[in-house]
């Protein structure tokens, strides 16, 4: 019995052939890890972890609406997350307001998503995948969409990097220095929405945090150098996604538990290292 369960979680029969099949997914995973790791440092600095969760649920609602209507799921999830990101950005400037706005939006989005999925008569795997992630054989169209979006996010972040760090740390001081703080905030929320929308394709709506928050949070436990935090966060995120895909390959279990477990383990290790150093 126990053996059967392990068999389901870890199977490495025909691994070589499977690997060739998910070649695209691995590249997609690495790209996601890169974007997630980079944007995650700003998510942490701007205290937006809860917002990531809220955006993900609305993105899930958008994706399930698209599934029901038979239109492009990626476009649906993108629309959902951009709308959520802009609402959260506009209504919740202060952290306290923001959390209540998210707390109100999130169950509504989740409810909508559940409604759309209940009405959907297609394959059940499609439904489940939106919440918990899936390694579909990523086709070229999806791949170019994913990579394209990621490049847009990375380039935009590179352009606004310095003012964004400044505004994230000390908005008033940054504004006095001439940083357009009022514009940076919605721009960042849109970039966050884009990242969430592409992440959902792989890790699912419930577990986007493992990609956008945990790696950066882990990195911040062991260093305060902005460069090293970014590099480590990316390394952790890529390890989690690519490692998760490799482990999930042979099993019948979705990818997300592998991704979240790796990323959580890295976090625990970093906490331990940081804790020892602080003493």
């Amino acid at each position: 019995m126990t053996g059967d369960v392990w068999q389901q979680i870890f199977t490495f029969d025909d691994y070589g052939e499977l690997l060739a099949l998910v070649h695209n997914s691995l590249i997609a995973g690495a790209v996601l890890g890169l974007v997630g790791g980079v944007i995650g440092t700003f998510v942490m600095m701007r205290d937006l972890a809860f917002a990531v969760h809220g955006v993900a649920e609305l993105s899930f609602a958008g994706a399930s609406a698209a599934l029901l209507l038979g239109v492009n799921v990626a476009a649906g999830s993108l629309a959902g997350s951009i709308v959520a990101a802009l609402i959260i950005g506009a209504l919740g400037v202060r952290a306290k307001d923001r959390n209540s706005v998210i707390g109100i939006l999130m169950p509504f989005g989740l409810g909508l998503g559940v409604l759309f999925l209940a009405l959907y008569k297609g394959r059940a795997a499609n439904k489940f995948g939106l919440l918990t992630g899936q390694i579909v054989a990523v086709d070229t169209v999806q791949m170019s969409w994913l990579v394209g979006t990621s490049v847009v996010v990375l380039v935009a972040l590179a352009v606004i990097w310095r003012p964004l760090v400044f505004a994230s740390l000390d908005p008033d001081v940054a504004a006095a220095r001439g940083v357009p703080v009022g514009i940076l905030s919605p721009v960042f929320m849109v970039l966050l929405g884009l990242t969430v929308a592409v992440s959902i394709q792989v890790v699912g709506a419930l577990l986007v945090l493992a990609l956008l928050v945990t790696p950066a949070a882990a990195a911040m436990r062991i260093t305060a150098s902005p460069l090293r935090v970014t590099l480590l966060s990316v390394a952790f995120a890529v390890t989690s996604v690519v490692g998760g895909i490799l482990l999930a390959l042979g099993s019948s279990v979705p990818i997300s538990p592998y991704v979240t477990t790796i990323s959580f383990t890295l976090y625990l290790a970093c906490r331990a290292v940081g804790g020892v150093r602080a003493r």
């Binding site: 440092t41 942490m44 600095m45 205290d47 590179a158 352009v159 606004i160 990097w161 310095r162 003012p163 760090v165 400044f166 740390l169 000390d170 008033d172 001081v173 940054a174 504004a175 006095a176 220095r177 001439g178 940083v179 949070a217 990195a219 911040m220 436990r221 260093t223 305060a224 150098s225 902005p226 935090v229």
Partner: protein, 258 residues
Amino acid sequence: MTDATISLRGAGLAFGDRVLWQNLDLELGRGEFVAVLGPNGSGKTSFLRVLLGQQRLSTGTLLIEGRPLGYIPQHRAVAPQTPLRGRDLIRLGLDGHRWGLPFGTRRIRRRVDELLEAVGAASYADRPLALLSGGELQRLRVAQALAADPAVLLCDEPLLSLDLHHQKVVAELVDERRRAHDTTVVFVTHEINPVLEMVDRVLYLAQGRFRLGSPAEVMTSASLSDLYGSPLEVARINGRLVVVGAPGAYDHGGETTV
């Protein structure tokens, strides 16, 4: 005055029907040091927010000729795990407003080192911001504001939460800057003594009104009694100004220094 860096004309600020101050005419010249005093809720910080462009005047006009503005905010702890160190905070003052990635050039590194040295922060330059004490952080914030090479320096209670020694250090850093570069200084504080010897003029806000003039003119029993509308005593003890009986002026009330 033709070389005014800041001029306010007929300026007033009110929230609803609560008037903080009105009919304020103020011209600040280059290198002038003005202390803004007053009890809590008198509009000191709002005055600074007006100068920063974060708060609109209810009446009157504001003209700021001096740019860039340097701003030293009130002390606030930095969130734990913030991925920035002392040198990164100063660096933001140098080029944090520019687009792009923070590539390190030798020129920038040298300038950051100079600023660290100038405020005596070199020894903790690489420590995470979240682990610094109030005094350490505040010296970095001074250096960050100076990094912009400001024509006007706006300071919001920069001495709050500092011990006497660090109050002196920070006040002297600000004063050195204005003497060396003719920087106009607006210094919001509830405690004038650490800057008493440096101040050219005092703007004292209270009861919806204000007094403007040299410390010798404003900080007298007659002037402050008139401003508050009730008798109070300004005494000079060992070179420190002590105000006795300012109503509701300070959290601890009663006898206090200004």
